[in-house]
Symmetry: C2
Subunit: 203 residues, 2 copies
Amino acid sequence: MSDPLIALIETIRQIVPLSETDTTLIKSVFQPYRLKKGEYFVQQGQVCQHVGFIHTGLVRYFVNQDGDEKIYDFGLENDFVCDYESFLPQRPCRRTIQAIEESDLLVISLSNLQRLFAQLTHGERFGRVAIEQIFVKTIGQLVSLYTDAPELRYQAFLENYPTLSTRITQYHIASYVGVKPQSLSRIRARWAGKHYSRLSSPE
Amino acid sequence: MSDPLIALIETIRQIVPLSETDTTLIKSVFQPYRLKKGEYFVQQGQVCQHVGFIHTGLVRYFVNQDGDEKIYDFGLENDFVCDYESFLPQRPCRRTIQAIEESDLLVISLSNLQRLFAQLTHGERFGRVAIEQIFVKTIGQLVSLYTDAPELRYQAFLENYPTLSTRITQYHIASYVGVKPQSLSRIRARWAGKHYSRLSSPE
């Protein structure tokens, strides 16, 4: 298994160039953190204290809507994980992030993240671009919960998470798509039918 | 009426210090833009081409949910306005931003904004902090649409927009709160009652 710090540094290097001093700083401000299956990265009502980098494992993000858990996103290997709405202003979460599989993370506190922004050669640029990417993705996931029909959300699930359907339950997929598990089966059947017709079409 | 450029520069200066060269650059990359009442800053399906700074006026942000317009935010004087989910990756909007009042803006294109991030003394820091603030606010507005009961959303409306209730229609307030206009009247009556009881309470 690869070194989580190397994976983290490669992920940051996709955004900004890093000097040797930069990588030494990165290694000094992240700490290893393990979540068992079912444990929470952060729960609704708590203040989110860290940004995590997922080396191995899988988490789900959900909001509680009238007692129903609505999954709106998943976090996989090489993703950053955080409830920024809580973390940045340090106020209680309105969402929960929970490990679906045992997950090995590297985590950084707010004060160390601010040190990273200030002290990395291109720290502020890293901060800006990383938060822009996360912003666009998170807004997209939340708007999609409102505006996209279940079929479209199932299609997006398959496209965004091609390897996930064998790692999560039908309940999780149905919650992400926004339907009851029995409706998901009908969507899957229709989807399989369409897909087959398209493949066998003579044009 | 004050100079919109002075208001813009003061707003940016609340985030980062600005030199004289910085303010000259800011003046050169923003253009005046007027929206008539009812005109769109950007419509669902279009690509958002600008970030705007609202000097005077008022806009609403809404998503279309099964044919219903759901207002989730307003933009007022001294706010930045943009659909970042469309603007940053330059893909079609899933939301609409429309002027409720005639609005005078200063707008900047994506290429000029990137110039600003690169060339202002603390341009990257400005970009990071500004996008963090907008991210936290936008996520909050969207999550609130799901998780908060109408009473709580009405309370948040009064707190976040204390001067707005005389500038917008009952329809707009009801859409923001997430109820039909007739339900809003009942919420307002209950709210007024509670408020009165609290004021006249003997403790």
